[in-house]
Amino acid sequence: MYFLIEEYLPIFYIFVVSVSLALIILGASFFLGNHKPDSQKVSAYECGFNPYEDSRNKFEIRFYILAILFIIFDLEAIFIFPWSIVLGQITSFGFWTMFDFLFELLVGFIYIWKIGALEWQ
């Protein structure tokens, strides 16, 4: 039991520090800050939209495309990080497997570049 507590002590420290830091920052801005609320300030923040509207209206499709592309290239990073950590243990097979994946991703990248999915206009 003593082991457990010792192992988890750093996590407890992080918990205490982060909670107190958050409280300090929020509290400081609440007590020391300048309060002049207007409708833009108090409304929920959403990038590029009016926050209070019917949610079933038309929507710019390019946001979706950007999000999808972000997911794909984000996944690439997720694959590459563990690969780079264990590169010493996975022999040349693991090395070239990742290069195969990167090559296929490159083909996809050329495709989206060429058909103009990266351009905002």
Binding site: T91, S92, F93, E104, V107, G108, I110, Y111, K114, I115, G116
Partner: protein, 497 residues
């Protein structure tokens, strides 16, 4: 695993898939570079891509035939190669080539000009090839996802039609729901047994006895989840509601692909899963599949009576045919499995004929209108040969004697009785009688309903006419000499027992 060993045997078996995957990459590069080229004037690559896809599938077909080993389990036993996978891959690639062949004309009319359409078709076929060989629940799930993701996009291929978009979205939601169920079942199984290999399951369950009742009930629930996902994918009855809408909404060239290609692969893979791994749970499996089979034949025959649109009618007819296939599935015997494959192959042949007839109703003026039964009227005076082909195909679907469909249905009913499924066989025969009503009504529309001014003539494209000839020949020929197909399907079924 040793790096060099991987390329010695394992890789050799995957040569067709490797070729197909590489070709998809090359086609993607080719299409994205050429179709955006200003110097070439932004060419439309529809025709050349169609031809190239057919060529690639043809080469893949040759590579599949040129298989070096008759039985092998490769890639840390996640894929299997035997006679069943070989034959299923042959049928799959052959029918994919035919699908591309007959849909060329309608693609031109429908103005689906994106080259991605063909890349998606090839990707889905790659997924189906992997699915045929998969021998591990993980590879099974991944390849199902690969083919269905491509299918969702194919359903929504006609971007300016709201029906097509709706079909794609519907297919996507239902498909991802069923994939979720499949994953749930797989994770239950993994939780119970700690393995995902097909082989290991049978080894584990051979030692099971009455002291493991909790485990048994959990595995039964997992099998229920997997079965429901399977029923969703093949559109069997309580889980069929997506298929008429998707068939109706998506462009006809995509509909042909959904309707014909995935069934044989899904059936062969799930047969392998249930026969090799879960033979111990035979009664549970029987219970699920007979229930769904009876639902499918009854709903398929009764709801189709009310349909006015051709594609919806065919969707319901395909539901009832899936019901017969599930009936053969639940026979749980060698003969039953054989009759399943026999029925499936003949059904694919018949579908080719019927879809080619429907494709021939398309002209550039009436393309956006969905075809109703009235559109078939006076076909017999405008194009008597086409009308006769349609007659043969519909009679074969209904199971009228001098045609191959009769044998296929007879086989299933006989094997049903052989496996003592008397009630199920009785219900299936009754609903087969009911379903023959709407096939005969179609024939009545073709031959006896005269519309004075139909407004357009039925011109059959060259590729369609070739397919019509070919499939009609086999529909008649297989009645007089079914022994070749019998033997082949028997060999396929023997791989599972």
């Amino acid at each position: 695993m040793d790096f060099s060993l991987l390329f010695q045997n394992n890789f050799k078996m995957f040569l067709p898939e490797f070729f197909l995957a590489t070709s998809i990459l090359v086609l993607t590069l080719h299409g994205s570079l050429i179709s955006t080229s200003k110097i070439l004037g932004f060419p439309l690559l529809l025709k050349s891509f169609n031809k190239m896809s057919i060529l690639i599938l043809g080469f893949t077909f040759i590579l599949v035939n040129n298989n070096s080993a008759s039985f092998l389990i490769v890639y840390s036993s996640s894929f299997i190669f035997d006679l069943l996978t070989l034959n299923v891959k042959q049928f799959l690639l052959f029918s994919a080539i035919l699908c591309l062949f007959i849909s060329e004309h309608s693609l031109k009319l429908g103005q689906i000009n994106q080259f991605e359409y063909f890349i998606l078709i090839l990707c889905s076929i790659l997924g189906l090839l992997f699915l045929t060989s998969s021998f591990d629940l993980l590879s099974l799930y991944l390849s199902i996802e690969m083919q269905s993701l491509c299918f969702y996009v194919l359903a929504a291929a006609k971007k300016d039609s709201s029906f097509s978009t709706e079909a794609g979205l519907k297919y996507f939601i239902i498909g991802s729901f069923s994939s979720g169920l499949l994953l749930l079942g797989i994770s239950f199984l993994y939780g119970c047994t700690g393995t995902t290999h097909f082989d290991n399951f049978s080894l584990l369950f051979s030692e099971i006895d009455s002291s493991h009742s909790f485990l048994t009930s959990l595995v039964q629930k997992a099998l229920l989840c997997i079965f429901i996902a399977f029923f969703f994918k093949i559109a069997a009855a309580p889980f069929h509601m997506w298929s008429p809408d998707v068939y109706e909404g998506s462009p006809i060239s995509s509909t042909i692909i959904f309707a014909i290609l995935p069934k044989i692969v899904l059936f062969s893979t799930f047969l392998r899963l249930f026969q090799t791994s879960f033979a111990y749970f035979g009664e549970t499996l029987l219970f699920f599949s007979i229930g769904s089979a009876l639902c499918s034949v009854i709903i398929g025959s009764f709801v189709a009576l009310k349909q006015k649109k051709l594609k919806r009618l065919l969707a319901y007819s395909s539901i009832s045919h899936v019901g017969y296939l599930l009936l053969a599935f639940s026979c749980n015997s060698l003969e039953g499995t054989q009759s399943l494959f026999f029925y499936l192959i003949i059904y694919m042949l018949t579908s080719f004929t019927i879809w080619s007839v429907i494709l021939s109703l398309n002209t550039s003026t009436n393309l956006d209108k969905s075809k109703t039964l009235i559109d078939l009227s006076s076909l017999s005076t405008v194009n008597p040969l086409l009308a006769f082909t349609a007659l043969v195909a519909f009679f074969s679907l209904a199971g009228v004697p001098p045609l191959a469909g009769f044998f296929a249905k007879l086989e299933i009913f006989v094997n049903c009785l052989g496996s003592s499924l008397f009630f199920a066989g009785f219900v299936a025969i009754l609903s087969s009688v009911i379903s023959s009503f709407y096939y005969i009504r179609l024939i009545k529309t073709i031959y006896f309903e005269k519309v004075i001014d139909n407004g357009f003539k039925f011109s059959v494209s060259r590729s369609c006419s070739l397919i019509l000839c070919f499939s009609m020949f086999f529909l008649v020929f297989l009645f007089f000499n079914p022994s070749l197909l019998f033997l082949q399907t028997h060999k396929m079924a023997l791989c599972l027992f």
